[in-house]
Amino acid sequence: MMMNTEATQLAYDDMYEALIGCHQGLSTEQSHMVNARLVLLLANHISNLDVLREAFVLARSGTQATTAIAPMTAQAITPVAPVHAG
């Protein structure tokens, strides 16, 4: 297991308040968008696909989903473009 699910030095109550605060006054639809943006921003910050995959599995396991995450298709190894400019 590469992902840390133990407690860290993070001020959890502050974090939780800030997270809920970040959604304040938003419609459900807007909140969904905020969450999607959060996932993408944090995924980039974590920047480790193995950790993220573990997180995806853990997140899904807490739902009523009856199937596992579908296996990944073969990996592309050729760069998608000589340099795909940022």
């Binding site: 968008m33 999607a36 993408l40 980039n44 050729t78 473009a81 000589p82």
Partner: protein
């Protein structure tokens, strides 16, 4: 064919003239023979893939017979985008320059979300390559130039209006029953290459399948003739105001023609959407009411990502769309088919000449099946991004697009098509693993990258143009004396035959004096050393044609 009999319109015709060309069925003496006449190589299907393969073989001196069930070239822009690697292959076959001269060269793509540009990308951000990342060229021009080139070669014959109706396979050949306007006849083929497209008759006759994923969406392609100020770039819109909730792709073609792909959704009625009264308002919404245009060609399509389990079936070999299909985002259809042809041509020729065994041909299958998987993976991912199939998939897609304007990382996730680059065949059994340490991307299995060079006569030239038609030993500094013991290998010595005046070649290959790269006939790197030895070289050469050392 007598050069005087080759229709001049193939090279010189306007789009209308080229599309109007018909190639009459003519009776072959084979049809009057008492028993089936033998042909070493029969290629079924005269599209870009079949024609490329036929040229490659005929240029090597191999007789080829091409059968096509039709009398015409392609209609409409269709494949349209031809990649740098495809142009390099056609350069080797003597037909690249016509394509580039006529085509619209481009390197830059722009992506828009609703009203705003999200980002732009350059597919060829460095200089020092002869060819651009892409040209746009109507498929009928591409086929016309390929056909013209083929008909100039003495070893090639094309039979129009010849449709394969039955196949009997043997261990050492294939008996084809061919249907013509004057009845059936039979051809005894040593090898058959089926390059007869996505709905391959050959595949059906063999009882084989191409399997995969079909996408539930419909797209309208329109070729529109107009004077417009858009630059020669690929423009892609997600959810634009003029075509809400769907995507639109714009490409410039030669002759003031523009190709527009409109996503329509699964509910669209393909017959209705093909009608000009449905298409014209869509185009006007994009261009504005006042732009004068005429509709040249339109088609409504759905697509699938499919492939056959295996491409080599004894003496019948599948290439191009018959073997694999991709969605159009990424221009990976015709481009991968042309790479199939180039991979197959030299291997088939080596086998026909007794230089290699069937093991080499088997690697056509393994290498190009791998490449097909890569193309399918990339095009499937692009399709899932462009046409999200669930609410949450659309939510994340829109979140990515929303973040992309400000945040660099999100631009890397935006996927309007990962545009065709040649597969790097790193796991090919024909490669010799490195023993020396090299930097850079030019690993065994990669296509040798182009670079500017100065030739012996002081003229500026390009590296890929200097390679041999067989194996090439690209040597930096003095060639080792033992290299002369391999007369079948073309020695190209940097510092003697050509000069790396800008240093780009050495840089791209991480080369120093003494470095040797072994290049396959299809310009893929198969081995390299910083301190080559005769023994290592000899082993690598055998390995590269799947021979026991």
């Amino acid at each position: 064919m007598n050069p005087n009999d080759i229709p001049r319109a193939l090279l010189e015709g306007s789009g209308e003239e080229v599309q109007a060309l018909t190639f009459p069925y003519t009776r072959s003496p084979d049809q009057d023979a008492s028993k089936p006449v033998h042909h070493e190589v029969v290629i079924v299907g005269a599209g870009p893939v079949g024609l490329t393969l036929a040229i490659d073989l005929a240029q090597r001196g191999q007789k080829v017979l091409v059968l096509d069930n039709d009398h015409r070239l392609s209609i409409g822009s269709r494949a349209l985008c031809f990649a740098k690697r495809t142009l390099e292959i056609w350069d080797r076959l003597g037909v690249g320059q016509q394509m580039v001269d006529k085509g619209v060269s481009w390197n830059v793509g722009r992506v828009f979300f609703k009203d705003d540009q999200v980002y732009e990308f350059n597919l060829l951000p460095e200089t020092g390559h002869e060819r651009p990342a892409f040209i746009n060229l109507q498929q009928y021009y591409c086929e016309a130039y390929l056909l013209e080139r083929l008909l100039r070669l003495p070893n090639a014959e094309v039979r129009w209006g010849n449709k394969v109706a039955a196949i009997v396979t043997r261990d050492d050949g294939v008996l084809l029953t061919v249907e013509t306007p004057e009845g059936n006849y039979q051809v005894d083929a040593g090898w058959v290459v089926a390059s007869d497209g996505g709905r391959s008759t050959m595949r059906n006759l063999m009882g084989l399948e191409s399997k995969g994923r079909i996408f539930q969406d419909r797209f309208l392609i329109a070729d529109v003739k107009m004077k417009a100020q858009f630059p020669a770039e690929r423009w892609f819109w997600f959810d634009p105001p003029f075509h809400p909730n769907q995507s639109v792709l714009l490409h410039r073609e030669p002759d003031d023609v523009w190709r527009i792909d409109f996503q329509l959704g699964w509910g669209a009625d393909p017959e209705e959407e093909k009608k000009p009264e449905r298409i014209i308002p869509r185009v006007k919404a994009l261009l504005g009411k006042d732009v004068d245009f005429t509709l040249e060609w339109a088609s409504v399509y759905t697509f699938a990502c499919l492939r056959m389990d295996r491409f080599v079936h004894g003496r019948v070999i599948f290439a191009g769309d018959s073997a694999h299909g991709v969605s159009p985002f990424g221009a990976r259809g015709a481009n991968s088919g042309v790479q199939d042809a180039e991979n197959l041509a030299w291997k088939l020729y080596w086998v026909l000449k007794g230089r290699a065994g069937a093991e080499l041909l088997a690697t056509y299958g393994s290498e190009r099946e791998y490449a097909a998987d890569e193309n399918i993976l990339n095009s499937t991912r692009a399709t899932d991004f462009i046409t999200p199939k669930s609410e949450v998939s659309k939510l994340f897609r829109d979140a990515v697009l929303g973040l992309a304007q400000e945040h660099a990382f999100a631009r890397r996730i935006v996927n309007s098509g990962r545009l065709s680059v040649p597969a790097t065949l790193t796991s090919s059994q024909l490669n010799t693993p490195d023993v020396d340490v090299f930097g850079g991307r030019q690993v065994p299995g990669a296509v040798l990258t182009d670079a500017p060079v100065v030739l012996g006569d002081g003229q500026e030239g390009w590296l890929l143009r200097q390679l041999g038609q067989g194996f090439t030993a690209l040597v930096f500094g003095d060639a080792p004396a033992w290299l002369a013991e391999f007369p079948e290998v073309f020695a190209l010595v940097v510092g003697k035959d050509l000069v790396d005046a800008k240093g780009l070649l050495s840089e791209r290959l991480d080369a120093r004096p003494g470095t040797l790269y072994l290049i396959r006939p299809d310009q893929h790197i198969c081995a390299r050393w910083k301190q080559p030895t005769r023994e290592h070289f000899s082993l690598a050469l055998a390995r590269a044609i799947a021979q026991p050392a």
